[in-house]
């Protein structure tokens, strides 16, 4: 099984300032015992990261704020279920943020315009050489395996992950029937899984 979450630690350290903050795992454990101060510090250390993830998926600013609020309420209530074996704290929190975003998005009745974040090419994110470093081993493996996918398969996977595109929205974006998108996703995910687990 591949590890995960290591890359988060490096990207987070930049947002921490002032006195050395306790490790996020400690803050989460303290919050689980009802320590509001620890929960606030956890928020200060991670909210920008999670808001970035949420905003990219939801697009709408008001909706993103509501989703961030709901995400932190879930974190507060579920803090005691966090287990180190589930990965780095911020990776665990990102999973909650993404899931809450997607739930909110799919429950909306009105369709949204399928425009990706301005000037956003998902490939840039994973192809950015600056992100390669001693902490980027997981991402390096993922990038290598994404490279095995057909162009359309890779773009579908990345647009869905980063931008929250549904199959229908992907179909609209690529001008292809939903059935084709389903096939691309199926093949893309199968290739990715086999490559990462292999």
């Amino acid at each position: 099984m591949i590890g995960w979450g290591v890359a988060f630690s490096s990207s987070l350290s930049a947002s921490a300032s002032g006195s050395p903050a306790p490790p996020l795992g400690q803050l989460l454990a303290d919050a689980a015992r009802g320590d509001r101060r620890a929960f606030q510090r956890l928020y200060q250390a991670t909210s920008a990261k999670l808001f970035g993830v949420i905003l990219r998926i939801c697009k709408d600013r008001q909706m993103s704020e509501d989703v961030l609020q709901e995400t932190f309420l879930k974190i507060w209530r579920r803090a005691e279920t966090y287990d180190r074996a589930l990965g780095e704290p911020v990776a665990w929190m990102s999973v909650i943020a993404r899931r809450t975003s997607i739930d909110a998005l799919r429950q909306r009745s009105e369709p949204r315009a399928v425009t990706a974040t301005e000037d956003f090419d998902p490939l840039d994110l994973v192809a950015d050489p600056a992100s390669e470093g001693p902490d980027g081993a997981d991402l390096a493996a993922l990038r290598k395996c994404l490279g095995n996918l057909e162009e359309e398969q890779r773009r579908c996977v990345l647009l869905a992950y980063y931008e929250g595109f549904s199959r229908e929205e992907l179909g609209e974006k690529f001008g292809r029937p939903v059935g084709t998108i389903k096939t691309w996703l199926f093949r893309g995910l199968a290739l990715l899984r086999d490559c990462l687990d292999g």
Binding site: A31, Q69, E70, R98, D138
Partner: protein, 237 residues
């Protein structure tokens, strides 16, 4: 694991399933530990991607909103189930109580959940009969075994309408309803450990079943009418 199942878990994590498919998948997820593992593994496979997203500062007043929302007299607690809690809990609770009052006034709520608290003895040697007019089986039986730290909710005659789900709620005295899962057909059973229900207290506990969209309430709190409800009573020996 079947190929389809693994990929479906991947699509769930990716987020490409529709709202209806997500609800059905989450329902399967609660019943199928293999599927839950598949989801966790996909989160790990794709997780490094999220680390690449640029941070964006949220508005300064958002923390105050969150702090106010967490300032409830109820301390934080572990989720009983993924759907068992949401920021709407408090709101939903009040809506739920008014629904309950309305249903009772209209004589609609069939209060027939039977709950017993057996103490000691082997489960094989334990029986319960819930008597009802007309010789019908009681729709739902809830058993709570303090000694074994276990709770079971069994449908004997309750079947949710097509494309709807019956969601079971534990309501501690003075607390908001907490979801125990969905119970859609005759023979279905929900089991849980009491220690997994943070702060569980048998005294004053009430169980209720509401009619919800397929897969369970979308908000985490009850949204539909109460179909069955009943208090937890101690079995006298």
């Amino acid at each position: 694991m079947a190929e389809d199942k693994s990929i479906k878990a991947g699509e769930y994590v990716l987020g490409t399933l529709s709202a209806a498919e997500r609800a059905v998948f989450e329902r399967q997820l609660r019943r199928d530990p293999d599927l839950a593992v598949a989801v966790e593994v996909w989160e790990r496979r794709l997780g490094p991607l999220a680390a690449e997203v640029e941070p964006v500062d949220p508005p300064a007043d958002l923390w105050a909103r969150i702090e106010a929302a967490t300032a409830s007299p109820i301390p934080p607690r572990a989720a009983v189930r993924e759907k068992g809690e949401s920021l709407l809990d408090r709101v939903a609770f009040w809506r739920w109580t008014s629904l309950a009052a309305g249903a009772a006034a209209a004589g609609l709520a069939v209060a027939l959940a039977i709950a017993i608290i057996p103490r000691g003895g082997s489960p094989e040697g334990r029986f319960v009969a819930a008597l009802q007019s007309g010789g019908e089986a009681p729709p739902v039986v809830v058993t709570v075994d303090l000694a074994r730290d276990s709770l079971a909710v069994r449908s004997l005659a309750a079947t949710a309408p097509a494309e709807r789900s019956y969601e079971v709620w534990y309501i501690g005295e003075g607390e908001s309803p907490r979801s125990l899962g969905v119970l859609d057909e005759v023979g279905a059973v929900i089991t849980a450990s009491l220690s997994g229900i943070a702060g569980f207290r048998a005294e004053g506990a009430v169980f209720a079943i509401t009619d919800e969209p397929e897969g369970g309430s979308p908000t985490g709190g009850p949204t539909g009418p109460i179909v069955y409800s009943g208090p937890l009573v101690q079995q006298s020996l």
